[in-house]
C-alpha cells in the first residue's frame, strides 16, 4: 500500500512540476491563471493522498476549503482581464 501511495505522490509531484513550468512559461496571463488553478486542484489531490497516507481524515477538511475557494483567484484574474487592465503577461 505504501508503495502505491508513494507512487501516487510521485505522479502528483511530477504534475506539480509540469504545471509549474507552464506557470512560469505563460505566455499569456490566462495561461498562468489556468496553471495556478490546476495547481490548486493538484494540492487537493495531494491532500487527499496525504490523508490516506497518514490515516488522518481531518486533512479532507483542508481539501474542502481549497476546492471551494481556490477558484476565486481565477475569477479575480478573469475580472481583471475583462475590465481591461493592462496585460503585461
Amino acid at each position: 500500500m505504501e508503495i502505491v501511495i508513494l507512487i501516487t505522490f510521485g505522479l502528483l509531484s511530477l504534475s506539480m512540476i509540469l504545471i509549474f513550468i507552464r506557470l512560469l512559461m505563460g505566455p499569456t496571463l490566462p495561461d498562468r491563471v489556468v496553471a495556478l488553478e490546476l495547481l490548486a486542484t493538484v494540492i487537493v489531490a495531494i491532500t487527499g493522498t496525504y490523508a490516506i497516507f497518514t490515516d488522518r481524515s481531518s486533512f479532507i477538511d483542508v481539501a474542502i476549503v481549497v476546492a471551494l475557494t481556490a477558484f476565486l483567484a481565477a475569477i479575480g484574474f478573469a475580472r481583471f482581464l475583462e475590465r481591461g487592465g493592462p496585460r503585461d503577461d
Binding site: S58, D61, I64, L68, T69, I75, G76, R79, E82
Partner: protein, 143 residues
C-alpha cells in the same frame, strides 16, 4: 461587475455563495474541535461575498450583506471584547473561559462559551475587515 450576460457566473454565484456561507458557519462552530475556527470561517465567508461582488458588483453585494462591512468590523470587535469580561464576575482574570452548558429539550447539550463568543467576534471582524477593503477597492474602480 463582470460584463453583462454571463449568466453562467450569475447562476453559479447564486448557488455557490449560500453554500460557502453555510460552510463558513460550519467551520466557525466546530473550529474548537476540528480544523476551522473564526478566522478561517470568516475568510471563507469573505470569499463568498467576494465572489458575489465580482459577479454582481458592489451595490448588490452591499445589499446582500445588509450590514455595512464597516459596521460589521465594529460589531465583531465589540463581540470579541464582550468575551473578555464575563470572567470578572467570577472573580477570575480577564479572558478566563466561561462555559454555560445549555440543555436542549431532548437531552442534547449545547455548550455556549466565551471562546465561542470570541470566535464569533473574530468571524465578524474578519468578514467585515476583508469586505471593507475589497468593496472599497471595487467601488473606487467602478466609479
Amino acid at each position: 461587475m463582470m460584463k453583462p450576460g454571463t449568466i453562467i457566473l450569475y447562476t453559479a454565484a447564486r448557488f455557490l455563495v449560500p453554500l460557502q456561507l453555510l460552510f463558513s458557519v460550519f467551520l466557525l462552530l466546530r473550529g474548537h474541535n476540528e480544523p476551522g475556527g473564526g478566522f478561517i470561517a470568516g475568510l471563507v465567508a469573505a470569499g463568498a461575498f467576494t465572489l458575489y461582488l465580482f459577479t454582481f458588483g458592489a451595490a448588490v453585494t452591499r445589499d446582500l450583506m445588509r450590514v455595512d462591512p464597516r459596521n460589521l468590523i465594529g460589531i465583531g470587535l465589540f463581540i470579541g471584547m464582550l468575551s473578555v469580561f464575563p470572567a470578572v464576575l467570577q472573580g477570575q482574570p480577564f479572558l478566563t473561559a466561561q462555559w454555560w452548558p445549555i440543555m436542549l429539550p431532548g437531552g442534547t447539550e449545547i455548550k455556549l462559551s466565551t471562546p465561542l463568543i470570541f470566535d464569533i467576534g473574530v468571524y465578524l471582524t474578519v468578514v467585515g475587515a476583508t469586505m471593507t477593503m475589497v468593496i472599497a477597492l471595487t467601488e473606487a474602480e467602478e466609479r
